[in-house]
């Protein structure tokens, strides 16, 4: 059977003569290839956002179709590294959603005080903004010394950044506002040293932090925690994968442990909702109760 000819793309972005079904085939083939050749499994990522990220990469590589990107990525590991950054980095800010950190300080910290030793997991910590934000709260509350933090991400490059603890100086005004709204007790600038265009955060914040590679899609539980942070990571997953990761979190939480999700994420659409109770009507902090 002869294949119909498809006109070439004329502008940036997906072609005007656009076949959504064909695009889905191309995307599925690309993700399958990436999984089989490199072992990174993006096959259960939320379709609309992975499509958007793939097209951004296609434009950055000056290519014109998903299939072209597939060929480049499979034959050129450095292109795969760039794609991996696009697909795996979640963008965040220090003290993003100050109300969340207020509730964490007021509701979760008192629970943690009752433990002699605290274990926290930041799942999908990306460049570490949340790890440092939480460490600041715990230090101010006098709990950091007896806390062991595991900060994991699929992507080793972002873990190295997180470990270095250097954040763009031009974000500090925003972060300072967030910190104040979050109920911070000191002056935010006490936590970093400005150098060139970077803010280098105090190594005392990460003294008890282990940064390590972990893949939420394929790796298993590795310990038992009192708090698991996973904010605005699951939004990139489809519902099946979200459920699988919720199963991993459930298995990794101690009884009465706390699961912290992003403000617009919910257990409502997962099968684990009955296992938790909400600690706050608005912020997504859940306590494992059964």
């Amino acid at each position: 059977m002869a294949l119909p000819l498809r006109p070439k793309r004329s502008l940036n972005g997906p072609p005007i003569s656009y076949d959504a079904e064909l695009e889905r085939v191309e995307i599925e083939l690309l993700l399958e290839g990436v999984f089989r050749h490199y072992g990174f499994d993006f096959r259960s990522y939320a379709y609309a956002s992975i499509r958007r990220r793939l097209w951004k990469r296609i434009e950055a590589e000056a290519l014109s179709s998903i299939s072209e990107l597939q060929a480049v990525v499979l034959h050129d590991p450095s292109a795969m590294e760039r794609l991996l950054l696009d697909l795996s980095v979640s963008v965040t800010a220090m003290f993003r959603d100050p109300g969340f950190y207020q509730v964490f300080r007021n509701e979760v910290v008192p629970l943690l005080r009752t433990y002699p030793f605290i274990r926290i997991w930041h799942a999908g910590c990306s460049t570490g903004e949340e790890v440092y934000s939480t460490a600041i709260v715990l230090q101010e509350e006098g709990l950091l010394d007896r806390t062991r933090v595991y900060a994991t991400d699929i992507n080793d490059a972002v873990l190295q950044q997180a470990k270095a603890g250097i954040f763009p100086l031009n974000r500090m005004q925003e972060y300072t506002e967030n910190y104040i709204r979050a109920g911070g007790k000191r002056s935010f600038s006490e936590y970093y040293t400005a150098k060139y265009d970077g803010a280098i955060f105090s190594p005392s914040l990460t003294q008890n932090v282990v940064f390590s590679q972990h893949n939420l899609v394929t790796d298993r539980s590795f310990s038992e925690f009192n708090v698991i942070f996973c904010r605005n990571v699951l939004i990139y997953f489809d519902r099946d994968l979200q459920n699988r990761v919720h199963s991993l979190f459930y298995d990794s939480l101690a009884m009465f442990g706390v699961l912290a999700l992003g403000s617009k994420e919910s257990l409502r659409f997962s099968q684990y909702e009955p296992c938790y109770e909400k600690l706050d009507p608005r912020e997504k902090l859940y306590r494992k109760v059964r």
């Binding site: 972005g13 959504a20 956002s49 958007r52 659409f269």
Partner: protein, 199 residues
């Protein structure tokens, strides 16, 4: 052409424009209507409340993977991009696009990619050019492009930019837009439960 989704983008002056638009929809309105309004990253539920005051339709802020139901008004949450899947929503914290998150272009492009010719894009008042390229994507995919008559907009820049990008768009007052949306032919109901991987 039968339609499945309406996406509305607005910025400066958007609150009163949206309130008027929504007040003009009948309570029997049967399409999901998605609102992307630029606002501060820490703004709360006030927008949702102020819109709910003007309509018997259910107004809610979107949560990740929430199903999309006919006759609901969905508001994009502050500080996230809103993407549309078939029958449900996904959120993203990817970088702001032209300083905006939510970005109207991102949601409009997602509507065009997912719903093709069954999407309706509406650009209302605003002081920047967000929404123009997204509206073009909707139009190019065969969807319906509607722009508020710039002279009637509190801030005409955004409708004017959309028109410059999509000169074929229908240009109307807000009152006329409400009436046009209410009269749209509607496609068979979309599935209201997420089915990842389903076609």
């Amino acid at each position: 052409m039968a339609y499945e989704i309406i996406v509305v983008g607005t910025s400066w002056g958007g609150l009163s424009a949206l309130r008027e638009l929504i007040a003009g929809l009948p309570k029997t309105f049967r399409l999901p209507l998605v609102v992307v309004q630029h606002r501060h990253r820490q703004s709360d539920h006030l927008l949702t409340t102020l819109l709910q005051d003007r309509t018997p339709l259910n107004v809610c802020e979107v949560e990740d993977k929430a199903p999309m139901t006919a006759g609901n008004v969905y508001v994009a949450p502050a500080d996230y991009h809103l993407l549309l899947e078939r029958g449900y929503f996904s959120l993203s914290t990817d970088d702001p696009v032209r300083f905006s998150r939510p970005s109207i272009d991102v949601t409009f492009q997602s509507a065009a990619d997912t719903y093709g010719a069954h999407a309706v894009g509406v650009v209302l008042t605003g002081a920047n050019a967000d929404g123009a390229t997204g509206l073009k994507r909707i139009f190019d995919r065969g969807g319906l492009a509607i722009v508020q008559l710039p002279a009637t907009a509190e801030s005409p820049a955004m409708p004017a930019a959309a028109l410059a990008c999509v000169p074929q768009a229908s240009v109307m007052t807000i009152e006329e837009i409400s009436a046009a949306l209410a009269a749209l032919p509607i496609a068979a109901p979309v599935a209201n439960t997420p089915s990842p991987g389903a076609r």
